[in-house]
């Protein structure tokens, strides 16, 4: 009798047969700490506040604060804190029924809590609590995609204590918080959706992956976010990488409108629209994508990517240097063309390269651009006081629903116009028309759509991402737990 002859050939063959097939049946295991390296730093966890890197902040905030609804990777909307909803008066009045859930301080999430949160971010809406479990939202014009809209992080339900601390009802509690440095979250045992599998999640901010790789220190980490220029070397060393669709928008945003807002005290005048158009014609988006983005993104002519809408190709764009020179000459005959100060995120090496490349392209058309690094480019409030004509910003694609995604992007750029809100659009043609309108004065010049990239340790399981790179960590678990 052969004792303990394992792994036997048969067992190995079974192992190989099973392992070779892409199945899906490892049940999640509890315990352990998931350690995540983030490249960007943020200084607040408040999903309703401005921050230099709101996209990175929102990824963490999603684990602390619930929204009423959520969108899955297929673009379907699901209940979260709201268990059900209905619309009346042609989508102008919405009713949301809350599930029984607790904040992390043990108090019950009530309709007045939801009203207090939503009121902070919803201008022009009338939000009322009908009873402890029902919220009524009345909007001036129909919003057919209200459930999809309320899945956005900016509509997180946050309880604000008198001492300015924030309490959420999400699957994790805040255990430690060092602004701009580190966040430690611990599992919320009483979460209405069940305790998360990991005991804790630790985020380390501003970590340079290159340094970590050089020092071979990634072992203890579970995941790290990457820039596209870091992908090649990791691919060559057979690391596990996850890449979203090209979803983030790299965009040149001119800060000063042609008609200054009332009370504006900016020393800078708006850049002439002909010069802005000339600049758009001068930019070689293909070169930026091929060289700096290493062909991982797509050249952008629209705010929303082609893969999401199917119509981006209809929006005008593309390089036309001859027309750029003509427009510049036409403008020079009418106005004095000053050098354009272009601010980019000083903590993002890729943004610096893109800004410098744009300046080179602009020079070809006779336009002088002066790129410089700024710490607060991503902060929409800080941009208002910035001594720059334009900023190069990277905006996340916040929704898989085109009307909601466009509304969020315009809001992020400070261009939301209640008179022509994409949220009121009922057809895709209407969204297309509104997007074209937002681009027509060249205050917004799309450059590229960029994917989000993650490195994942093989000990991490069920790290799910939506096509737009949004994390879905509900089923996340790590080896080495209980």
């Amino acid at each position: 009798m052969k004792l303990l002859r394992f792994p036997s050939i048969a067992a190995v063959s079974l192992l190989l047969a099973l392992a070779a097939t892409a199945g899906a049946s490892s049940r999640p295991r509890y315990g352990g700490t998931v350690r995540i390296l983030l490249q960007e730093r943020f200084n607040s966890l408040d999903p309703l506040a401005d921050d230099d890197h709101p996209a990175a902040r929102d990824r963490v905030a999603a684990l602390l604060f619930d929204t009423l609804t959520e969108m899955d990777a297929q673009g379907r909307v699901h209940p979260r804190l709201a268990s059900s909803w209905r619309a009346e008066q042609g989508d102008r009045v919405w009713y949301f029924n809350l599930r029984l859930a607790n904040f992390q301080d043990g108090t019950v999430v009530t309709a007045p809590d939801v009203v207090a949160s939503l009121t902070r971010k919803s201008q022009g809406w009338t939000v009322t609590a009908l009873d402890q479990q029902t919220v009524r939202i009345e909007v001036p014009a129909a919003i057919p995609y209200m459930p999809e809209l309320l899945a956005l992080r900016r509509f997180s339900i946050v309880k604000r204590n008198s001492d300015n601390t924030l309490v959420g009802s999400g699957p994790y509690r805040l255990a430690e918080w060092q602004p701009g440095q580190r966040v430690l979250l611990s599992a919320n045992d009483d979460y209405w959706g069940g305790r998360p599998y990991p005991d804790s999640i630790e985020f380390q901010m501003g970590a340079s992956l290159r340094d970590q790789l050089l020092e071979r220190q990634l072992g203890p980490y579970s995941a790290a976010d990457l820039t596209v220029d870091q992908l090649r070397s990791l691919e060559q060393s057979n690391q596990s990488l996850q890449l979203s669709r090209p979803s983030d928008l790299l965009v040149l945003l001119f800060l000063h409108p042609d008609l200054p807002a009332a009370g504006s005290r900016s020393a800078r005048k708006p850049v002439d629209p002909r010069v802005r158009e000339a600049l758009s014609d001068a930019i070689n988006r293909d070169a930026i994508n091929n060289v700096i983005l290493q062909k991982r993104g797509t050249p952008a002519t629209g705010i929303l990517p082609q893969w999401l809408t199917g119509y981006e190709f209809l929006l005008p764009g593309g390089m036309n240097l001859a027309r750029a020179k003509e427009l510049r000459a036409e403008a020079a005959g009418l106005v004095i063309i000053h050098p354009i100060a272009l601010a980019y995120d000083y903590s993002d090496p890729m943004a610096k390269l893109v800004a410098e490349r744009i300046a080179v392209d602009a020079r070809e058309a006779g336009i002088v651009m002066q790129p410089y690094g700024e710490p607060h480019v991503g902060n929409s409030s800080a941009r208002a006081g910035m001594d720059a004509d334009a900023v190069l910003v990277r905006l996340p694609l916040e929704s898989l629903q085109p009307a909601v995604a466009l509304a969020a992007a315009l809001d992020d750029m400070g261009l939301a116009d209640p008179a022509s809100a994409p949220l009121n659009a009922t057809r895709l043609e209407d969204v297309f028309e509104l997007e074209g309108k937002a681009l027509q004065d060249f205050r917004v010049i799309p450059i590229a759509h960029v994917p989000q990239a993650m490195w994942l340790n093989s000990t991490v399981h069920n790290w799910l991402e939506s096509p737009n790179g949004a994390w879905s960590l509900d089923q996340l678990w790590t080896e080495g737990g209980r």
Binding site: P7, R27, H461, P467
Partner: protein, 406 residues
């Protein structure tokens, strides 16, 4: 011997399945063409309604999607026909009153057809989303050893189910739904509510036992007893052990987690093994055998008693159930594959010979992630399974059985 039977079965199944697959593919293609042609006619109606009227138009096409050339031609012909049927003359040159530029585009979910209509210096854009026709799935060579039958599909989660010729009972997180057969269809008779004091853990699991009219439900930290007639269900906090299969394994389940603690009850009362997700147990002659899928990712084989594992297997999935059949040794374990819950799952039948585990079937592809596999039937001749489709989000209750007759 088993391997030979496996190979012969595979060959026979392949011979049977190839002509069938070809016929299915052709039928699917024909259906896809006709459905796209119908959508094309509707698209023309929309173009005319929103950008018309016009008496004549020049039409151009561009395809920037994955729409294959044969389907593109079908759609283009349907569009031409639609315009002609609406009384619009198709002009070949530009001086036509209107020019319609049609682009077959796509987004991440399907096709998007876009018509840009230029008429009298005005431009109008009309868009139509078009679902991609289902691809004809080439029939995979079934071994005909594992047979899958769909029992029920629904949007809300199913944890376990019971089915006989008269009754279908579904265990859901907050209720037991009882259906009875009516003219060949399952009709909902009533729902028995489940009450619980704590939030359910993630990856919620549960067991449903129906014995005559008696209903017993096992959920983490909760047990419910009741009856189908009169309909009643009473739930209370409980750490009573759960039946893992049809009587061979009874085990305590963690009240706040998704696994069995390892402490056994029933026939093996007092024994303990490592915490496990699933188990398969059977008896051949005098030999008792157990397989436990541990929470550490290892599957342990015990023989005769539970004092020490006889073998440990790596690389198996967490879901496993024993099934009794008329072939091979008479008992197989149906085992899921070992990856994350992001893709469709697979199940394979395994036999234990000595201390070795042999695959005795081809893997079968399931259209989703396995949520549950429980041994069922009077003689353990079927496995009740539940899966969730990643594409639709729907839950499907199904049965698996092993058939050696072909």
């Amino acid at each position: 011997m088993l391997k030979t039977a496996f190979q012969k079965g595979l060959f026979f199944a392949l011979c049977l399945s190839l002509p069938l697959a070809s016929a299915q593919t052709q039928a699917a293609q024909t259906n896809g063409q006709s459905s796209l042609a119908a959508v094309a006619s509707d698209f023309v109606r929309q173009i005319i309604a929103r950008a018309g009227p016009f008496s004549a138009a020049s039409i151009s096409f561009q395809n920037i999607s994955v729409l294959p050339p044969d389907l593109q031609e079908t759609v283009q012909n349907a569009i031409f026909t639609g315009f002609r049927n609406a009384g619009i003359r198709i002009a070949n040159s530009d001086p036509a009153p209107a020019h319609v530029d049609i682009t077959f585009s796509e987004d991440w979910q399907g096709y998007l057809w876009i018509a840009t209509v230029q008429q009298n210096g005005r431009k109008k854009v009309v868009m139509q989303k078009v679902p991609r026709p289902e691809h004809a799935v080439a029939a995979r060579a079934p071994m005909l050893t594992i047979r899958k039958d769909t029992v029920w599909q629904q949007d809300s989660p199913i944890l376990d189910f019971f089915e006989d010729s008269h009754t279908l009972a579904l265990l859901e997180p907050d209720q037991v739904s009882i259906y009875s057969r009516d003219s060949g269809q399952w009709r909902l008779r009533y729902e028995l509510g489940i009450t619980h004091t704590h939030p359910w853990p993630r990856d919620l699991r549960g067991r449903l036992q129906i014995n005559g009219l008696q209903v017993t439900v096992f959920l983490p930290g909760t047990r419910c007893n009741g009856s189908m007639s009169p309909p009643a269900l009473d739930c209370h906090g409980s750490d009573d052990p759960w039946p893992v299969d049809e009587g061979n394994v009874v085990a305590f389940y963690s009240p706040r987690r998704n696994f069995f603690t390892g402490l056994l009850s029933g026939p093996s009362a007092g024994a303990s093994v490592v915490p496990f997700f699933s188990a398969a147990a059977w008896q051949t002659g005098d030999t008792h055998q157990w397989l436990f899928s541990g929470t550490d990712g290892r599957t342990r084989l015990y023989q005769y008693d539970l004092s020490a594992p006889a073998a440990i297997f790596n690389g198996w999935g967490s879901n496993m159930a024993a099934v009794h059949s008329s072939c091979g040794s008479g008992w197989q374990a149906l085992v899921s594959a070992p990856n994350d819950s992001v893709k469709a799952d697979q199940v394979q039948a395994v036999e234990v010979l000595g201390r070795e585990a042999l695959p005795v079937s081809a893997t079968i592809d399931l259209a989703g992630t396995v949520q549950a596999l429980w041994t069922a039937g009077k003689n353990s001749e079927v496995v009740n399974g539940v899966l969730q489709s990643p594409a639709t989000g729907k839950y499907e209750a199904f049965t698996l059985s092993v058939n050696c007759s072909r």
